[in-house]
């Protein structure tokens, strides 16, 4: 006897609607949702969060009395449950998912389908937001319950939830960007710990900020400075998330693509936007100290963002040299990336120096503003030059340059004070001349006496930059013998 064929249910209107929707959305979202809902992690954390929220609400409900205001404490408690998942579990899952994609090189197969790195990443990001929304919708009734316990108003709850989603998107961007960095097993293992550390820091910061928001909401929301700083932080987070996203997309691009355009445009837009925002905020008060802090913070940011932007495998400029637009800074290649970063440093540094000249800044502060971009140029140039002395395969250049940069920063900041401790003083002027931290502090402390040191840093920066350009032109552009 032949077995009866399985009974297949005819698709109803919801099935058809679901199918039509799945056809329209990013395939990665469909895949990630299918995979995500099957994982034990999702169900375990979902159940844990619900059970925890339930117990907390029962606790507050049992202890609530007429006239008490325990809403704020309840909100923070519920937020801890939601934040643990949104700021740790979801970004970590996104990291694992992206890391598996790079480990097993399935991203290559995806790119060949025409999906493209941006859609791969936006799919990962989208599925994380979807997961976050699932968790948030489950926690929403509890958060709302805290409003009925008095002590917290609805706008604060809404701001808290919206900020949490934005912060989660930022943490997911960081996680998937880090996942695309690994080029070998040892680096992957190292990055795993880096991500865990970053996310633990992210959770504590996120929950701390939300607690602060709940406690001081009324006072803070009425302050103009609060909104200025908050909007600057949000702008910084959003633009950094975009930059990280574009950088990750570039790393997931094939060598045949014009992968450098996205990150460089994002970098230039971010730097221009943030400088413009700073200028707008600064002109309201024209506080001289703020200008110095702005110049130093900008220099530090350009230093760390620049090292990611300027690194590429040697020879990529040459590969993308033939089909026109040779000097376009948006095309691939380490030489073009380095040129783009140097121009950004010079322009932003020049603008800060120009502003410093038009204000009543003291000599020390002016010298700090003047020296900041020189340290950036020195360390970026020196990393490029020294990394290319290391015997290597050309496709390892980006990692070698980044490691050299880190080593230089550590040595440059740590060695001179150590040597100073033995020879004279830890903050010895001469020994710390090229120390980006102590050097700047010394220049800030010593007034006109610091001028020769500023000149020395600029001279070193010029040598390093020229040398880097020569070495990059030879290895990245000129035809092989």
């Amino acid at each position: 006897m032949t077995p009866a064929p399985p009974v297949v249910r005819a698709p109803d209107v919801f099935d058809r609607w679901g199918e039509a929707l799945a056809d329209k959305v990013n395939p990665i979202i469909v895949k990630e949702v299918r995979q995500g809902l099957r994982t034990r992690v999702f169900w375990v954390f979902f159940s844990l969060m619900l059970v925890a929220c339930l117990f907390i609400s029962l606790g507050f409900f049992g202890t609530a009395e007429v006239g008490t205001t325990s809403g704020e404490a309840a909100f923070i408690s519920f937020f801890v449950c939601l934040g643990g998942v949104q700021f740790f579990v979801i970004p970590y899952s996104a990291y694992r998912s992206m890391a598996r994609e790079t480990e097993e090189e399935t991203w290559v197969l995806l790119t060949l389908t025409g999906l493209g790195p941006r859609r791969i990443l936006s799919g990962k990001l989208g599925s994380s937001v979807l997961q976050g929304s699932l968790y948030a919708s489950a926690a929403a009734p509890f958060l709302l319950f805290s409003y009925y316990l008095n002590g917290i108003d609805l706008p604060t709850i809404v701001v808290g939830v919206v900020a949490a989603v934005a912060y989660q998107v930022f943490l997911v961007s960081v996680s998937i960007s880090v996942a695309t960095l690994a080029e070998s097993r040892i680096v992957r293992a190292m990055l795993h710990f880096v991500v865990l550390g970053l996310l633990l820091f992210g959770v504590s910061t996120g929950i701390g900020l939300s607690s602060g928001l709940a406690e001081m909401a009324r006072r803070m929301l009425a302050s103009g400075t609060f909104w200025l700083v908050t909007s600057a932080v949000v702008l910084g987070l959003v633009s950094t998330a975009v930059l990280l996203f574009e950088t990750a997309a570039a790393r997931l691009s094939l060598a045949t693509e014009e992968y450098a355009r996205g990150p460089r445009l994002a970098f230039v837009t971010q730097v221009t936007g943030l400088f413009g925002y700073f200028l707008w905020g600064w002109t309201m008060g024209t506080d001289a100290d703020v200008l110095v802090v702005g110049a130093v913070v900008c220099a530090a940011y350009l230093l760390f963002a620049g090292v990611m932007l300027m690194t590429d495998r040697d020879g990529m400029s040459r590969s993308h040299w033939v089909d026109g637009a040779r000097w376009s800074l948006l095309k691939p290649g380490a030489l073009r990336g380095y040129t783009c970063v140097v121009l950004a440093v010079v322009v932003v540094g020049g603008l800060f120096i120009g502003l410093a000249e038009r204000t009543s800044l003291g000599v020390q502060e002016r010298l700090v503003v003047l020296a900041s971009p020189a340290f950036v140029l020195l360390y970026l140039g020196a990393s490029n030059v020294i990394a290319r002395w290391v015997p290597r395969l050309a496709n390892q250049t980006p990692a070698v340059v980044r490691l050299t940069f880190l080593a230089l920063v550590v040595v440059g900041c740590g060695l001179p004070p150590l040597a100073g401790q033995i020879i004279s003083e830890p903050d010895d002027l001469v020994l710390n001349a090229l120390n980006p931290l102590m050097g700047l502090v010394n220049i800030g402390k010593n007034g006109l006496e610091g001028t020769p040191f500023v000149a020395f840093v600029w001279a070193a920066a010029r040598v390093a930059t020229t040398w880097a350009f020569v070495s990059l032109r030879r290895l990245d552009v000129e035809p092989r013998a």
């Binding site: 199918e19 799945a22 056809d23 395939p27 469909v30 895949k31 299918r34 995979q35 099957r38 994982t39 097993e104 090189e105 399935t106 290559v108 197969l109 995806l110 060949l112 389908t113 025409g114 999906l115 094939l254 060598a255 045949t256 693509e257 040697d314 020879g315 590969s319 089909d323 290597r392 395969l393 050309a394 496709n395 092989r480």
Partner: protein
């Protein structure tokens, strides 16, 4: 015009030249075996053809268009299967193929029809609800092959597809590849297992240290390389019931008395020896036949009970060994 035309392809990594001036062609409906030791430059060449890497020099034309200049246009024509299967372990066979079909922009009924037809062709229909992690290596490899067929490409690039497969899975893969070639697809396949390749490929390209050493139809390459060998392996069998020490010694002595015979060995009923010329002289087919007849006559005349006598024919493995030097870079 050939479907695939590789022209003077070069790829350097720093001072290392992974591919040096490689040129070959592949027609539609043809299976081209890309043969070479590890590190010979096979995967690099295949990755360039698959638009995953840029060459330092030369070009690759697919259907007359440069894949280097226009990778986006070339990709829909290419199905690439790397040496790693790259199957998502926590998806079922159907979900995996359905996901890639979505990625290839196939929608609605068209996608379902395509996934069904690929599962049917690769024999995966019965396993469609199984997780890919639960599949055998051979079945995983079929899933990977199915993925490359979803968008109906003209050229299939398969990097070591038979690696690690059991004999049955290898035979089944062979049948699938033959069927694909009959559908008019060009197949570029690399493998270490030359005996497997010999049975399915029409043309071959032998590469070592990034340099192409021989290319053409299998017959052409065998004919060219046969003249290079200066020795022929001969294998004979004697009547099992007559085997004893005295007979073994007699055979060995007899063989050593024959001109051009070396390295005789007798192991039970099996007798092996080499017919060789002076180094540098080419062992033609006619010479090896005459020499074999002379030795057989001597054995029969000495009343050795020979039941079979065969000289091993020059095959792809010999061709490979005769043109390569075992150099790696």
């Amino acid at each position: 015009m050939s479907l695939l035309s590789v022209k003077n392809l070069t790829r350097s990594y720093g001072s290392l030249q992974a591919v040096k001036d490689v040129s070959f062609e592949c027609e539609a409906g043809q299976i081209l075996g890309f043969i070479g030791p590890n590190g010979a430059g096979k995967s690099t060449t295949m990755r360039i053809i698959a638009t995953l890497d840029v060459p330092s020099g030369g070009d690759v034309l697919l259907d007359g268009e440069s894949v280097v200049a226009r990778p986006d246009q070339a990709r829909p024509l290419i199905g690439y299967m790397p040496d790693r299967y790259g199957t998502y372990e926590d998806m079922t066979v159907f979900e995996f193929l359905d996901f890639f079909a979505r990625a290839y922009q196939l929608r609605g009924a068209e996608r379902k029809a395509r996934v069904d037809s690929v599962m049917e062709f690769t024999g995966l229909a019965a396993l469609q609800h199984k997780l890919t992690s639960a599949l055998s290596k051979g079945m995983k490899q079929r899933v990977a092959l199915g993925r490359t067929l979803l968008h109906d490409p003209k050229l299939l690039i398969l990097d070591e597809p038979a690696d690690g497969l059991d004999p049955r899975a290898r035979i089944e893969l062979r049948e699938l590849l033959r069927a694909l070639a009959q559908q008019g697809k060009a197949v570029l396949i690399s493998s270490h297992i030359l005996t497997e390749l010999a049975e399915i490929i029409d043309t071959c390209a032998i590469i070592e240290q990034g340099q192409l050493l021989a290319t053409g139809t299998v017959q052409d390459v065998l004919a060219k390389t046969a003249g290079v060998s200066s020795s022929v392996e001969v294998e004979a069998r004697v009547l099992p019931s007559a085997v004893n020490d005295a007979l073994a010694k007699k055979i060995e002595r007899l063989l050593l008395e024959q001109p051009q015979v070396s390295a005789p060995s007798v192991s039970g009923e099996l007798v092996r020896f080499t017919l060789g010329l002076a180094p540098g002289s080419a062992a033609t087919a006619e010479w090896s036949q005459q020499a074999s007849v002379r030795v057989l006559r001597a054995l029969v005349a000495a009343e050795v009970p020979v039941v079979s006598f065969t000289s091993r024919e020059h095959d792809l493995e010999d061709a490979f060994m005769s043109v390569t030097r075992g150099r790696v870079q």
